[in-house]
């Protein structure tokens, strides 16, 4: 079976990465409905094509009908066809998609149990920042762990705000079916909730230079207990890096003074 998976092309042999998120199933569902409905319509097109090729081959059918297809009944047929497509495809996936956006992807969680994280991708690494005890970002007790590892607790909504100071990057979590661009000059946000512990990959999905392909991070999902133990063991950031110097020298490492006051979503 593994060999089959390796060599037989076709969508039926390739699964998306394991879904470990609260809402990833919504995206899988809308994709599956689209799979189904477009396979159906493609099947109709191919069946019609095959049938006409067989039936109206010039050898079998030397005399074509003189038919412009411009009568009223043809126009009605055409309009009905367009409406059927619109109702069966567009209306359904639009309803599904709008519902999911409203209920999940654009419905940012609020409240005490939400974990807030600021992310600052750079060429070619991921930096993450936690608010620390005062629950304010950009203060001296912020926690900035080593690069490229994002620690989160399981079964907890996590909101990540992103910006970057060099070029555009995109925060991509294949196991959660989501991505969000980080663009210089603006703060963007995304939220997700893990349902299983483990280590998963973070990729940069937007071309950001010749190191783009190895701009990889890890998402470490721990139990709530383990996570908060880990967080309490982290030293607050050391703010010795000078804002103005950063960017001149590639070897400077993590710029530490990059937090911003949390932007509340309306």
């Amino acid at each position: 079976m593994t060999n089959l998976k390796k060599w037989l092309p076709g969508i039926w042999f390739m699964d998306p990465p394991k879904d470990i998120s609260l809402d990833g199933y919504r995206i899988d569902n809308v994709i599956q409905y689209t799979d189904f409905v477009i396979t159906l319509y493609f099947g109709i097109v191919v069946a019609a094509l095959a049938f006409f090729v067989w039936k109206y081959n010039s050898r079998k059918h030397p005399k074509a009908a003189y038919e412009h297809g411009d009568k009223k009944k043809h126009l009605i047929m055409t309009v009905v066809m367009g409406m059927v497509v619109f109702l069966s495809i567009d209306v359904v996936i639009e309803t599904m998609s709008f519902r999911d956006l409203k209920e999940a992807f654009w419905n940012f969680p609020k409240g005490k149990d939400v974990l807030r994280i600021e992310a600052m991708p750079m060429q070619y690494a991921w930096n993450f920042r936690y608010a620390g005890e005062d629950e304010e970002f950009g203060t001296d007790d912020d926690v900035v762990p080593p690069q490229n590892i994002l620690n989160i607790p399981v079964n907890t909504p996590v909101v990540v705000q992103l910006t970057t100071y060099d070029v555009i990057h995109s925060f991509y979590l294949p196991n959660f079916r989501i991505k969000q661009d980080a663009t210089p000059g603006m703060v963007t946000a995304i939220w997700f909730q893990a349902t299983e512990t483990g280590e998963y990959e973070i990729a940069c999905a937007e071309l950001c230079g010749n190191g783009h392909f190895k701009m990889k991070g890890y998402l470490k999902v721990q139990s709530k207990e383990d996570f908060y133990t880990w967080l309490s063991e982290q030293e607050p950031e050391v703010t010795e890096d000078d804002w103005d110097d950063w960017g001149d020298d590639e070897d400077e490492g993590v710029p530490t003074k990059w937090g911003w006051p949390w932007k509340e979503v309306k």
């Binding site: 809308v30 009908a65 412009h68 495809i89 991509y172 294949p174 000059g185 071309l207």
Partner: protein
Amino acid sequence: MSEHQSVWRKYIFSLDHKMIGKQYLFLGIFFLLFGGFQALLIRWQLAYPEQPVPWWLLGFLFKGSGGIIDPDMYNQLFTMHGTIMIFWAITPILIGAFGNYVIPLQIGARDMAFPTLNMLSFWTMFLASIVLLASYFLPDGTAAGGWTSYPPLSLEEGGIPGHGQTYWTLALTLAGTSTMMGAINYVITVIRMRAPGMTYFKMPLSVWGLWLTSILNAIFVPVIAAGLIMLLLDRLLGTQFFLAGRLAAGGGGDPLLYQHVFWIFGHPEVYILILPVWGIVSELLSVFSRKPAFGYKVTAICMCTIVVLSSIVWGHHMYTTGMSPLLGKSFMFLTLLISIPSSIFFFNWLLTLWKGSLHFKTPMLYTMAVIWVFAIGGLTGLYNATVTADIYLHDTMFVVGHFHYTMAASVLFGGYAAISYWYPKMFGRMMNPLMNRIHFWGTFISLNLVFFNMMVLGYAGHHRRIYNPAEYDFIKPLMGLNEFITYAAIVLGAFQFIYLFNFTWSMFKGPIAEKNPWKSNTLEWTVDYPVPHGNFAEIPQVYNGPNEYSNPKVKGQDWVPQSVQIESAG
């Protein structure tokens, strides 16, 4: 219209739309091969990352980096593959070559409205090509910011060394200028130069497609030109239209502005590339079914509707930029609306075959392949139009597979259909049908294996533009499929040489073509080869629509030229 023209006037600085069309065709084919070669190098790297390029993919070119493609070169390869295929291969072949060759002949005009502008348009394109090719010889290589060249990456501050990006911007601005000159010419030619009796709804659908394409070009190429000039100013004069963040001195500009400008042009561009194919397919289906195009007017109106819609859907390229929910929803709704006119003319294409008498000549095979690949390409667009599905699929190989179906596959088959169909009129000889059939089946099968499996990769999470996919654990299981795609791509590439050989060989050795080998109605088939400069001895009077096939009032044959009056029954 002097008979004694110098070689320069006749072959190089020609004012004859037919010669300019051929010049575009040869330019386009050259770049098609060049862009295709780069595609194979990309495929090599994706299947065998960091392994030496074999000799048959010209491995000696990579001597400087130990025979392997390095990350910089890889980024340059996919940047230039996209740029070249879109602006230097598809545009010259479909719009430059067939727009030029077909429009005046099919509407019964002696030439383009502005022959000198037409010549200048080609030579501006030629200049753009030189700038583009020169960029490969720069010390740091050519552009590497992707064909979209999003700033700040495409700015000096983005960290890509050298002047490749500057040359790229300059070359693209020149190519845009050339396209503009052509577009204005085509639009005005269709409006002003139609033969008497050639009303808009008597124009062949191929002219409709090319005309609508030119209208879109005339409107939207200036938009990208503005964006490119701002990019050039940012790069050369230190302005900061698109620079923000820490690299910007002072307040800075907005990188998102570029994305909006790019896609306001970029989405219509997709339709710019495909509309000529839609037109050609609609026309050829009718010719080879010996039956009028089903719902001719509706098809033409649907194409117009799509032209309008195409200009207000660009936001679906930007769902993950953090756009406002209201905009995201509106763009999704507008994008999905395109499915209505698209499904209607698809329906009309199929019903043109219904009760026809189908002749499977090679142009017809290529035309039917367009129906197949464009059905896949169009339908898979639904995923990308859906905000939620696109959050996952954006920037993955799924998108790559999808747009190769709509642009590469449909446009290739449309181009092959057009070349095979008009070859007898362009070169006076017939192409070898057996070679074309072999080429057709080889291309059809391998092309589907390549592009369909790209979508499979993307569905499995494989993101695009990565030098070495095996860096990621979740992509490692997909490397077998990556290899498979590469084999299929090599087969696809190999089959193209059959067409190239046939194309060249038939020019000298093919059987001499009759005046009207396909028994078509349109005006280009009423003139003898070689068509003289000025086309028609006398401007024809048009009586019929373009698709009067199997008209029962016509006795003895199932076709009637547009310029021959059908005897009224009785």
